[in-house]
């Protein structure tokens, strides 16, 4: 926020309650934050804390009980595919479509002419390094390659914001690290605003400018950590003292919260 870039996503007092009639379950409470244009923000928190629900509210897929989400100062009430793309833990490719057809799919739905969308898909596939695989089917690709196709599909409509819900959570560690590099490279090249959910503290810190830390039951933002680490990020950074210190601060915020809930500190580990 010091750079004074415009705010592209803003949430104000977001709250989500399930089962209002019976025992109400407060899933999210008082979520307020702002994301600067072109920044990379990670959201880290224990599983089941409502991270995905929050992301779906940002995407306009789930309504909030109260509070609001603003994108470019306009309230989000339904999906806005031209502005916001969403990626999931699974690549969610359509198995009967070729890789290029999968990347074209959102463009087809938005009504882009065939010639134009073919060019666009080809450009996105070469951006993610899969130009040679355009005619393949998803099952012929590895898990990491499938997620790259998913990134290409998310980029295809040229959105300003990419919301990613643990996109590398199902990959093995080595692939996951490579995908992190790949994502940073694409982010630097395209200047998108990325909102990235993960439960890995290391991944959150390694990728982001800002790490939002969430607690569970009810999900709240318990801290905002600024990742003041040099870019481009390299794997060695993870072993540095500043990285370790920042990661400890995140862990403290999460475990602090655990103590509040269980009354017995880290015993739940």
């Amino acid at each position: 926020m010091s750079q004074g870039r415009p705010i592209v996503i803003e949430t104000r007092g977001l709250r989500k309650v399930y089962g209002i009639d019976r025992a109400p379950l407060v899933a999210l409470q008082d979520i307020s934050f702002a994301v600067e244009e072109g920044s990379f923000v990670s959201l880290v928190g224990p599983s089941g804390c409502g991270k995905s629900t929050l992301l779906q509210m940002l995407a306009g897929l789930v309504p909030s009980t109260s509070g609001e989400v603003l994108v470019d100062d306009v309230a989000v009430r339904q999906p806005a595919p031209e502005k916001i793309s969403v990626m999931f833990q699974d690549a969610t490719l359509l198995p009967w479509k070729r890789v290029s057809e999968n990347v074209e799919f959102p463009l087809e739905i938005s009504g882009m002419p065939a010639v134009k969308r073919r060019q666009r898909a080809a450009a996105m596939l070469s951006l993610v390094g899969l130009a040679d695989f355009a005619e393949r089917y998803p099952h012929e690709l590895s898990g990491g390659m499938r997620q790259r196709v998913s990134i290409a599909r998310a980029l295809a409509p040229d959105p300003r914001i990419m919301l990613m819900d643990e996109p590398f959570g199902a990959l093995d560690e080595q692939t996951r690290i490579k995908m992190g590099y790949e994502l940073l490279r694409i982010w630097e090249k395209t200047g998108k605003t990325i909102f990235f959910i993960t439960h890995s503290l290391t991944e959150a810190l390694f990728l982001a400018d800002i790490v939002l830390v969430m607690s569970h039951r009810p999900g709240r933002i318990v801290g905002t950590i600024k990742a003041d680490l040099p870019r481009p990020r390299t794997y060695e950074i993870i072993g540095s003292a500043e990285f370790g210190a920042a990661r400890n601060r995140i862990w403290k915020l999460i475990s602090q919260d655990d103590r509040d809930v269980n009354g017995e500190g880290m015993a739940s580990l």
């Binding site: 999906p79 595919p81 969403v86 359509l94 198995p95 959102p106």
Partner: protein, 249 residues
């Protein structure tokens, strides 16, 4: 391969013929291939008329069963609550011997073409509806979210994402349902009707014309094969990706 298979068929036909020629089995129990061919030459016009009626009934019944089964299965599959409640109900209905309902069908629809079609549709409906429902219900919710996020309408989510996704499950339901429709039409014709292959089988049985009974069975088999062939065309068109996926593993 084809040569060996052809030889095999010839041997079976030869043995079959011999069993009758040497009268090892009486004419009431078995008709030889030449006797069956003779029956066809003698009464081919009757069979042509009957086949036309049966084929029409099967075609109409299949169109109805596929549409209703996939439609109802999709609607149920889209609503977890509905499939949780309707699922066991549908499965248990499917377990009832439907033939016991046939007398009622005759009262409701008469002994013409309508009761045959109605009976065949009921026979084939459940496996198609249940498989479609399970196929749609098993799709990860992320796909629905994806569809909504890229701006799909409800209709597009169903037709462009969910139905193609569930196609392998739907086709295996169609396999069972299609066979049951063919059986349903022929059984209904045998029980009470004015024409069709099943009617001929039943009629010739009552006058002990065994050669004609066998001929009728062959026609019934032909109907089942034709329906299956149509289905395999559809299957190749819509589920080849699944086959490739399995071969990869």
């Amino acid at each position: 391969m084809t040569l060996r298979r052809g030889l095999m068929i010839l041997i079976v036909l030869g043995l079959w013929e011999a069993v009758r020629r040497f009268n090892l089995v009486g004419p009431l129990l078995l008709a030889s291939p030449t006797e069956i061919a003779g029956a066809l030459v003698k009464s081919w016009l009757d069979y042509a008329v009957a086949l036309r009626l049966t084929a029409t009934e099967i075609a109409i019944a299949l169109a109805l069963t596929w549409t209703l089964g996939i439609g109802a299965g999709t609607i149920a599959g889209l609503r977890p609550f509905l499939s949780a409640t309707a699922g066991p109900l549908l499965s248990s209905l499917f377990a009832v011997p439907l033939i016991s309902w046939y007398p009622l069908f005759m009262v409701w629809f008469g002994i013409g073409i309508t009761s045959k079609i109605a009976y065949a549709v009921i026979s084939g409906f459940f496996p198609i509806a249940i498989n479609t429902m399970n196929g749609i219900g098993a799709i990860d919710h992320q796909y629905v979210l994806l569809g909504r996020a890229i701006g799909c309408s409800r209709r597009q989510i169903v037709f462009r994402i969910l139905l193609p996704m569930a196609m392998p499950a739907i086709v295996s339901g169609l396999r069972i349902g299609t066979a049951l429709v063919v059986i349903g039409v022929i059984v209904a014709e045998m029980l009470a009707s004015l024409g069709g292959i099943g009617y001929l089988i039943s009629y010739y049985r009552s006058i002990y014309a065994t050669d004609h009974v066998y001929l009728g069975i062959l026609f019934a088999l032909g109907c089942a094969l034709a329906a299956n062939w149509g289905l395999s065309l559809l299957e190749r068109r819509y589920t080849s990706w699944r086959v490739m996926q399995i071969e990869q593993r």
